[in-house]
């Protein structure tokens, strides 16, 4: 009988960890700082602190989505903001009323 060690990996919810610096967010979404700044201007990403910018909450998911939309479908930043709003609206509608 083999000694069956089933190793369980325990992680945390990244969104509830300490907030991300601009550099770290760029790394995690594979995007340029200029894109992150544009997304902040559009109100897609919120800056969590007054001094050096920190990003929390939905920033990681939205930033990664923004990079994919731009890279794969050629959507500009203003368009990304609209697409994100619409996608989230669709998610809420499908949750409320079923698909």
């Amino acid at each position: 009988m083999s000694n069956n060690h089933v190793r369980v990996l325990v992680g945390e919810i990244a969104e509830e960890q300490e907030s991300l610096s601009l550099a770290r967010l760029c790394e995690l979404c594979d995007g340029e700082a200029s894109l992150i700044e544009e997304l902040v201007d559009e109100g897609v990403l919120e800056v969590a602190s007054a001094g050096e910018p920190r990003f929390a909450g939905t920033a990681l998911r939205r930033a990664r989505l923004a990079v994919r939309l731009q890279r794969d479908l050629g959507v500009n930043t203003a368009g990304v903001a609209i697409v994100i709003d619409l996608l989230e609206r669709i998610e809420t509608l499908e949750s409320r009323f079923g698909r």
Partner: protein, 319 residues
Amino acid sequence: MEFKDYYAIMGVARNATADQIKQAYRKLARKYHPDVSKEKDAEARFKEIGEAYEVLRDAEKRAAYDQLGSGPPPGQEFRPPPDWGSGFEFRGAGQPGPGEREFAYSGDASEFFETLFGRAGFAGGPRRRPRDRGEDHHARVMVDLEAALEGGTRTLTLRVPEVGADGVPKLIDRTLNVKIPRGIQAGQHIRLAGQGETIPGAASPGDLFLEVAFAPHRLYRPDGRDLNFDLPVAPWEAALGANITVPTPGGPVELRIPAGSKGGTRLRLRGRGLPSSPPGDLYATLQLVLPPADDAAARSAYEAFASAVPFNPRAGFGA
């Protein structure tokens, strides 16, 4: 190996112009991109379309591909001709235009593409610069909602990139047992420290980020930290009010249906949604269900009700 009919994949004729091919790609990319697509297996289709476009948009690759004809007869395996590619130099197709994804070599091309066009068929190689930290890996995983409601361990299989000894990245399957954090929401990430790329000799490995999505649940539909479900009620329960028992993630609970409720009325059960911090709410949407009029007693009850209560549901229709 399996022959790939790139013209069929893109839905264009074999003599399609470059413009027609580009337009077909843009339409299909929007339709099948996993972030905006509702199609089943969107991700696989999107990759297939990207590979087809990579060949057909490049004059050299397209010319070489056209020489293969439309593939072997059904049932026969495809084998590349012995003098394949002679006379061709497969440089990249040049910089992608706006909205054209650079078909980066992620090791996920079909066997057909890899055999015929190989690494040289890709625009640009992987960026390899000396790093002191392994790369973070990202994967999307689908889990059952119970995992987030209770916080259980799940076995997940991911496709992650691995760089072989020859420096060429390819995708491999990796199976992990992961504890799903209780209360995690769709779109949030489980961060597994140190489970990303390991570089021999580098100080620290990268992390692995798992973006969570939920498989459809038989009852609850998540919306952020909240849950929605449909609650069937009888017409008299809605009209007259009732105390009924409803299922919640934490167990059955008594719920008061107010008198005068209607179909579509939404009732909130505070704090009974996902056990996040803070916990979300559970919303019940009333679904009026009519008892079937399939026996004499039911039919006469309906007829009595109709005579006793004059009611025109179409009063405002104007017909």
